[in-house]
């Protein structure tokens, strides 16, 4: 998946405008709640076959953090 594709899908999950980049902080968004985190865990599992633990997702503070957890090989 390309970075642009990822930003688009992720912004839809977050219910925010797609002007995301790797430095975007997620904590400014009210929608970055536990339900959205669960959605993201499932999306990452289904799309990239990467199993994020609860600790993994709680460590994610920016879009870039999430991309690192998913793996450079998966988003280019």
């Amino acid at each position: 998946m390309t970075k642009q594709e990822f930003y688009k899908i992720f912004s839809e999950k977050m219910r925010v405008e797609n002007n995301l980049n790797e430095e975007t902080s997620l904590e400014i968004f009210n929608s970055w709640d536990s339900w959205t985190r669960m959605d993201v865990m499932v999306f990452v599992d289904q799309t990239f076959k990467v199993n994020l633990t609860a600790n993994d997702i709680m460590e994610v503070k920016t879009v870039g953090d999430l991309m690192k957890k998913i793996g450079e090989n998966n988003i280019q």
Partner: protein, 326 residues
């Protein structure tokens, strides 16, 4: 099917909760989580009271003199001792020739109760078992714990298990105590007494609890469920010598619709065979499965002869599933 349930009279709606938590997007919550209201006990009402009321409903059509064992599942007992099931025997005026015991489980409680009941029947120890699940998680919740106050409701369900009730198949059961810390009330037992000055802590943005109250790591519970439950479903079908296509209906523990959606998809279950029944009750812990079973039968979604998989999972961590034939 001899199965009844009881819901406390107080109904707490999302609109009422939104007055306490003004920034809460309850419309979005309803869409995602599927809960509009939940029933909450009065200050002086306990799980044992709910157990009694559910049992009394059941006993309107059952000969109580035939009951020779009581199994009561609760994590909200009136006392450490004596056993709540013993008190229930007295309140229901059942025969003194009746065994009785409590067991402490949450969301897997009804499935485990069926396992215990089946064992008692097969061993000849009992022939008419009153299986009751009763829970008042509302009493464990911090008033400022929005995340959990919007999910959990109180309820009890009572059923008679005997050779004439639905037939109970084989079980797959599991436990992982490493997850104990992820859904816990730390204080109030004998390890840690209740602290009058227990400090509140924020565990998720704007949500508070304390060691005297319930703490749930929702993400860990979600992760555990997604990993363990689809496999449990397959193992249970296999153990009962059934293909998934031969199972008529699936009733999972009604944790929340958000989780149920993902579990259904991951378990590859058709939507029309999958039960959602939590809109007006919320997550009633061990009572969700019997309530959903009763309602599904009453609505004609399942009928005599159907094979129904029951899947319970949650606090402990504990999980279990079986297939009943109505």
């Amino acid at each position: 099917m001899h199965l009844e349930y009881y819901l406390p009279d107080n109904v707490l709606t999302n609109i009422e909760l939104a007055k306490e938590f003004p920034n809460w997007d309850y419309a979005g919550f309803e869409k995602k989580v599927g809960i509009i209201s939940r029933h909450i006990v009065d200050k002086n009402e306990t799980a044992l009271d709910l157990a009694e009321k559910a049992s009394m409903k059941l006993l309107e059509t059952v000969d109580k003199s035939s009951i020779d064992f009581i199994l009561l599942c609760t994590q909200s007992p009136d006392y450490f001792l004596p056993t709540s099931a013993c008190i229930l025997q007295s309140r229901l005026n059942l025969s003194k020739n009746c065994g009785a015991l409590d067991f402490n489980l949450g969301c897997s409680g009804f499935v485990y109760g069926l396992a215990l009941a089946k064992s008692l029947l097969l061993s000849g120890i009992a022939s008419n078992i009153l299986l009751v699940v009763a829970e008042t998680y509302s009493k464990h919740l911090h008033p400022n714990d929005k995340v959990n106050r919007v999910i959990f409701g109180d309820a009890a369900a009572a059923s008679i298990i005997n050779k004439d009730s639905f037939s109970i198949g084989e079980f797959v059961l599991g436990t992982d105590g490493n997850g104990a810390k992820d859904l816990i009330v730390k204080n109030g037992g004998l390890k840690n007494k209740n602290e009058p000055d227990a400090k509140d802590f924020e565990y998720s943005t704007g949500n508070f609890t304390s060691d005297n109250h319930l703490y749930m790591n929702g993400l860990e519970i979600f992760n555990f469920s997604l990993n363990a439950i689809p496999e449990l479903v397959l193992q249970t079908a296999e153990k009962n010598n059934l293909k998934m296509s031969e199972i008529d209906y699936f009733i999972f523990h009604q944790a929340n619709a958000h989780m149920l959606n993902y579990l259904r998809m991951k378990s590859q279950i058709d939507a029309d065979k999958f039960c959602y029944d939590l809109e007006e009750t919320g997550n009633t812990v061990s009572a969700t499965i019997p309530i959903a079973l009763k309602n599904s039968f009453s609505k004609g979604l399942i009928k005599k002869g159907d094979k129904v998989m029951l899947v319970g999972f949650g606090v402990g961590l504990s999980w279990g599933a079986t297939i009943i034939t109505l």
